[in-house]
Symmetry: D2
């Protein structure tokens, strides 16, 4: 079955949340202490998803806040050249900086990151910088969980979701949990639940749903039973190498396989998954196909150096699916 969107809209996806800088180790398979040079990429889950979607051909826009400095300029230029509408990316005037992520690739299995998230511009997006006129031009509003971590970005997202619902824009919530900025697990669970219950489609890993439910070793059936009491119509739960599951409120369930890949690093898997999954859904493909698109896109990105620049083309995805069929 395919998912129905409000097609009378200019943008396929408008995303809200952070756009940051990744500094990826050029010398890898070693500890970061021994890495001497880094390459700069645009990063941040919702930015990556939007870049990936745009590269696949979707018409996209972005709501976010960037600093008034060289890193901010770079992000805006890169996203604009990727075909994303940047008219609603606000330039911070209070001296906040862009978030940074240094990546450490010790081995394909041992990747870690070193984050700079203090006083970052993206968390200073104000609710009055969120425009109803803009949101109502979208089929999908893509919300990233990390944007809920702190005020005023938190309120900006709550407002955006309210405006999306009011204007029949499908709300897609990518859980995107990062253990930074949040004060406690309980606080995280409260805001994740609040937004998940008001969303139409929820996407995340099993671990992220556990954060939302403030428990360990949660169970997919209980998760969907609770969420389907509220607004969600489609819930995607990813289980890493064991593949991903999609659940519809109607009761239908689907399982997607993970595609094996020569893994360089694990970063960027989730973002590439979401961008291709949403591309497929928005192009009227059925959910089973969308799961394949997501998995194929993730398999390609984990074999490459970046999480944004490495987003695959439609050809690459379709070819991988065909080869592995």
């Amino acid at each position: 079955m395919s998912y129905a969107f409000n097609n009378d809209r200019e943008y396929d996806i408008i995303a809200i949340g952070r756009a940051c800088i990744d500094l990826n180790a050029n010398e890898y398979n070693r500890p970061m202490e021994e890495t001497m040079t880094f390459t700069k990429y645009v990063g941040g889950s919702p930015a990556n998803i939007t870049i990936g979607s745009s590269k696949l051909g979707l018409k996209t826009g972005f709501i976010g806040k960037i600093p008034d400095d060289q890193h901010g300029n770079f992000i805006k230029k890169y996203m604009s050249e990727a075909g994303i509408d940047t008219s609603n990316i606000v330039v911070d005037k209070e001296g906040h900086k862009v978030g940074l992520t240094f990546t450490e690739i010790k081995s394909p299995e041992e990747c870690s990151i070193l984050m700079y998230r203090e006083e970052v511009a993206d968390l200073y997006l104000h609710p009055d910088e969120v425009s109803e006129a803009y949101i109502k031009q979208a089929k999908v509003l893509l919300v990233s969980g990390t944007a809920l971590a702190k005020s005023p970005s938190r309120e900006a997202v709550i407002k955006a979701v309210g405006l999306a619902r009011k204007n029949d824009v499908t709300v897609v919530f990518e859980l995107d949990y990062r253990p930074y900025t949040w004060k406690s697990k309980e606080e995280t669970a409260i805001y994740y639940s609040l937004i998940a219950e008001q969303s139409d489609i929820v996407i995340g890993t099993r671990d992220e749903y556990d954060m939302m439910e403030n428990l360990e070793n949660g169970n997919n059936q209980e998760t969907i039973q609770n969420l389907f009491k509220h607004r969600p119509e489609l819930i995607v739960i990813k289980h890493g190498v064991d593949g991903s599951y999609a659940y519809e409120k109607s009761g239908a369930e689907y399982r997607g396989q993970a595609y094996k890949s020569k893994v360089l690093k694990t970063f960027g898997a989730g973002d590439s998954y979401a961008s291709a999954f949403l591309y497929a859904l928005l192009n009227g493909k059925d959910i089973e196909t969308a799961l394949k698109f997501g998995s194929a896109s993730a398999a390609i990105v984990v074999s490459k150096h970046s999480s944004s620049d490495a987003m695959p083309s439609l050809d690459e995805i379709e070819q991988l699916i065909a080869v592995r069929a």
Copy 2:
């Protein structure tokens, strides 16, 4: 028509929010600069409402946080002696103080207050101090808007409302807007709307609904039209001396008159109104009678010195209604 509660519960009302200290000028009809002595009372909207309800005979409990000092001890003792269950009032261990309100009564028309609300204990109620086992013993969870002004109290209230809904506890939202602590009108509107949409009964002044809608000179019909799209079943909008209006989702509307009174000060009118209105509803009286109870209780309290100690008895309310009939 009367309102149906889940009667299989031990408590009529459990309130969540602040309990503070009022310091009322003993010498009045003068500026506070010339007031030399003050009398101490328990204050804070949800505490006052609970005290008022308890005095009328309801079985009540309170969820809140008080400091570990003489003012905190006084509050707990006073509320306990007023018949309120204080088992869920947490004692702060981090040095936060109780909020203070100095009242200035220049004339019955010119009352003002001087608030101490920096780092107050009530705004440090943590979500993990809110107990599902306790909330599900109540017919009504009474939520006060000021408790939404800051984290972690904000999250404690969002959690409490979620638990109340899950356990079929009627959520009553007393808007209780105070222009302290809130960072902006937009922030206020976002959280007021969020909780109002998830409540069963909403009570406030026309000005407070304007805050919730982030506009000026709002219109009752538009307010109820928006809120009735969500969970609310009963909406009370107070217009001061012009009386109050109650709206049911079914379409029924009621108007209650304000009773004239020899006004000493205007403080405490809203709290006494809510306590008597809820008493009437919980005792199966129809909405028109409940509006009279609210107005009568308010008329009595504004003629007296305090907002808590002066809460009327059932006899006083019924007598006033009878005399003015």
Copy 3:
């Protein structure tokens, strides 16, 4: 021996620091929980000292910051009526409040206080609100230790002391230690030492010198040995009922007896001591006499209800000294 001041100045004493509100229990010899009414007085060590000095006939001024509210107005009016020049008391425009001190008098031996010191106006005195033109009109700049507890008041005091030294104004440092606002004992010791080393006269209790030295059970001889390496010329160390000691850099030592008194509460003893001690010094009396003045003034204030309004007259002090001689 008497102490020489720069007599070619308009003001005897200009004090810098906090002016607050005391709320003294009207019903005493009981815990504060049972106190129902409070009387309002001006409080805060440097304000009390200035009021006391002014009452004795010194020409005084005050540098401080008060809120733009009824309590701020009251303080300015009271101090002005007490004869103090208030031209350098700045009105805060950022919503800070005045500090509050609720006093609890359980018995003459058990007095405690409940302080409100969060975001108080006095700690927001900015260095650019300290005027060299004003300070250089004084014989004495009186500095209170509590004003060092937080920026920007801390920097305002450091600046004021620098200006006083530059303009040959005698710097008197009243240690006035209060365990609020300070982050650690080490921080306290660092700033107390910094200012004590730059002062001409230092006055405090033995416990306060221990705070300055970050040790317990300190020794007067070691204290004066360390301080006399720096600027101080005269050091007064108070030992409660065991009297007080004055040390001169020249090597002279003096001991003053404490006068017995019918104690109502212990608050205000130090402030009244300082005001009368400085009065005597500034009037050319010898140090032994100044110690008597300090003790007599303290003995009078501890027998009365307030710490500011109760400051004695010259007659009262001289009479007490005469009677006890």
Copy 4:
């Protein structure tokens, strides 16, 4: 004339302050937006000076705070391998990060930096992490002005300077002004003056002395006249390409020429100057020679890519001086 140190000490220089990470653009002569890769170096003025001094053969130690992460590990390892004693570098346990400096080299004349200084570990050095036993092993305590920008690092430095004076350690104050973290010019001036007045040797650019004096276009003669009233014995004021001036309390004045160089970037000039100047003084060379050493070292570093790794050897410095003589 040469400067006398307390030679009965194990370390020539112990520095206190920040050790950070520089991320220097690999592709230069372009805006940073177009720079895609960065090379990582140790940075931060006192770290650079210590590295430079150590490379020249001085025995050095460092008091500072680094994060418990890969960047922190790198710094400690690099400094240790450079011969610096790192036993008093504390590892932060509260999640603070290392400061970052991205450098932009548009042209030799247009260099700018993008700093990350929010919640950095170096500013969380606590006074109780400063050891008297360590400081008293040094001939020189080198203090960097930026460490005064915020508590508790500010108090750690004030304490260290007090301990140095108490133990006859020469205090060298490198003004090292950076317009980050400081709240106001007045605050900067207050703490810069406080430490300068307590130091033996002060080194800075004319602009930095202007910050200390809170004025514009200051005058060397007035600067030294004010400072020589206090502790300083030797004052170095640098005027960029116009050379540098050294003033002794005795009245002697010296001028050092700046050496021309093929400038790649201007960063690191001050740090390399200080390290070679202090090397010369500590080796008993006269002040004129020390000025030459400083200028030569600066000329070498500005022609290279980093500010730490590029610190010259003694041979390089002596050769440059010989060639340009």
